[in-house]
């Protein structure tokens, strides 16, 4: 179970489905679990992007896209909209560079800014999930 007190307060009202007893908690538990599996892959990949910049390999770009894409959809379900928007922004910025296309500096900079925003937006969830810090 995720401690509600540690979850960021930006959740929107999502409709009566989430008023089903226990469902919100089950979804939040699942989201925390998803972060536990995705962040250990995403955070090192983001670090490689920061370190290598335009020389970052397509495999690293693909690894980032592969994690932020499902994170965006899952974040929407639990109402973590700020994280969802940041994740989708990362995906949109990098999606065209997964097959080895030349990575412009401006794309790297934008992607890193959105990644920082994403990880920041997930802070409460990450601590709740016990995920590794950047």
């Amino acid at each position: 179970m995720v401690d509600d007190a540690r979850i960021p307060p930006q959740r929107a009202a999502l409709g009566s489905l989430l008023e089903v007893p226990g469902l919100r908690e089950r979804l939040e538990d699942a989201f925390a679990g998803e972060l536990c599996s995705r962040l250990p892959r995403l955070v090192p990949a983001a670090a490689r992007l920061r370190r290598l910049g335009v020389r970052t390999s397509p495999a690293t770009v693909r690894a980032i896209v592969a994690e932020v894409h499902p994170l965006a959809s899952s974040a929407v379900v639990v109402g973590a909209h700020e994280a969802a928007r940041a994740a989708r922004a990362v995906e949109h910025r990098l999606l065209a560079y997964t097959e080895g296309e030349e990575l412009p500096q401006v794309v790297v900079a934008d992607a890193l800014e959105h990644l920082d925003h994403l990880l920041s937006a997930l802070t409460g969830w990450r601590s709740a999930a016990g995920a590794a810090a950047v």
Partner: protein, 383 residues
């Protein structure tokens, strides 16, 4: 207006949920459990598990993500359709503007319907999203799919998994008779000058359009208007895809524009496209009760009123009944009308309904519709 097909005394729809995200799986299960009409019989985390679980559990429908580990969704759909054909509704975040090809790839692989997962920019109401999923699954559960040999898919041909609605035995019977008894019709050029070729399609439509529209020559003198049922956000991708296949330019229609000769206009998503003042276009919000948007009936009826016999109407494969009344209105105003036949339809719902209404003047296999149109428009077939 086309309402959701009556489900009558239907039983519970069993569903296999396929998604690698535990959040999505839990949400989808809750969304379906919220209705007594559904029973989630299993959850698969990747494409390989999905294929095995469909074989073992034999669900009535599959709700499937595309971005899956081990075996991706497209391959899983192909395998399921090759081994144990099951109506599959794709539910994915990889369907929007950035990846328009995925929706078409999923349909080409055999998916019956596609629904986009709500994204961060969407005005999210999870109750409405859940309701939409249930509606789509309920409709999909009424589709009978038959084996779709994978080798044929891999061969690069437009797939034609023959799918028929279980609940339309009357249409099926009439078509069977028509197929056996009617000789292949011969056509001659129409004497009335044709201004507009109007085409309606739904399930299986993108593949049918991809086969039909490239046959229209670049110097076609008529305007072409296509109404394809499709969820919001996918029409632009469809137009881009078809534009790459067709000699004619393909654009998305908009209010205030005029349909141009020699241009294929696709009706925009989320609105009904109404033709008035001959070839002028206005896009209107559909009635809240309208199930399929953009509505084919709305467009065809407006064409009947605006152009009468100076239009040609074609109703292609699709679930439901949308387009049948509109095609009948066109025929009543003197337009020549064509319906796709049962054998070549992915789903013989709409053209079957049009056939039953007497709206179809000529019922043809998809392969014959293009040549027939060219002959009717006095164009050389194969030019």
């Amino acid at each position: 207006m086309t309402a959701e097909p009556d489900q009558g005394a239907r039983g519970v729809v069993t569903v296999l949920v396929v998604d690698d995200s535990p959040v999505q799986r839990r949400f989808l299960r809750a969304a379906l459990d919220a209705s007594t009409g559904f029973d989630v019989v299993g959850e698969a985390r990747n494409g390989r598990e999905a294929v095995a679980m469909v074989e073992r559990l034999q669900p009535a429908t599959v709700l499937m993500d595309l971005d899956l580990p081990v075996m991706n969704g497209i391959e899983a759909i192909e395998r399921i359709m090759a081994t144990r054909p099951t109506p599959i509704v794709v539910c994915s975040g990889y369907l929007g503007e950035a990846t328009p090809g995925n929706a078409h790839a999923a349909q080409a692989a055999g998916a019956v319907d596609i629904v986009a997962k709500p994204g961060p920019g969407d005005d999210v109401n999870l109750d409405e999203y859940a309701d939409e999923l249930r509606k789509r699954l309920r409709v999909a559960s009424r589709v009978k799919v038959i084996t779709h040999p994978r080798g044929r898919l891999r061969g690069g041909h437009a797939p034609r998994h023959v799918v028929r609605e279980k609940t339309n035995p009357e249409a099926s019977t009439t078509s069977a008779v028509a197929t056996k008894a009617e000789p292949k019709p011969s056509f001659s050029p129409l004497t009335t000058p044709i201004q507009l070729l109007a085409i309606g399609a739904s399930t299986g439509g993108p593949q049918a359009l991809a086969q039909l529209l490239p046959m229209l020559p670049a110097d076609l003198e008529q305007a072409v208007l296509v109404v394809q049922h499709m969820a919001d956000g996918f029409i632009e991708g469809l137009a881009t895809w078809l534009d790459g296949l067709c000699p004619l330019p393909v654009v998305v229609g908009a209010s205030g524009k005029r349909l141009s000769p020699g241009t294929i206009t696709i009706a925009p998503s989320g609105l009904n496209l109404i033709v008035h003042d001959r070839l002028r276009v206005v896009c209107e919000a559909p009635p809240v009760t309208q199930f399929h948007v953009p509505g084919i009936d709305a467009t065809f009826t407006s064409i009947a009123e605006s152009l009468g016999a100076e239009a040609l109407g074609v109703l292609l494969t699709g679930m439901g009944r949308d387009g049948a009344l509109g095609l009948k209105a066109m025929r009543q105003r003197g337009a020549l009308t064509i319906g796709q036949d049962e054998a070549s339809s992915a789903v013989w719902g709409m053209p079957g309904a049009a056939h039953a209404l007497g709206a179809v003047e000529h019922e043809l296999p998809l392969d014959d519709i293009g040549p027939a149109l060219l002959t009717l428009l006095d164009r050389e077939v194969g030019s």
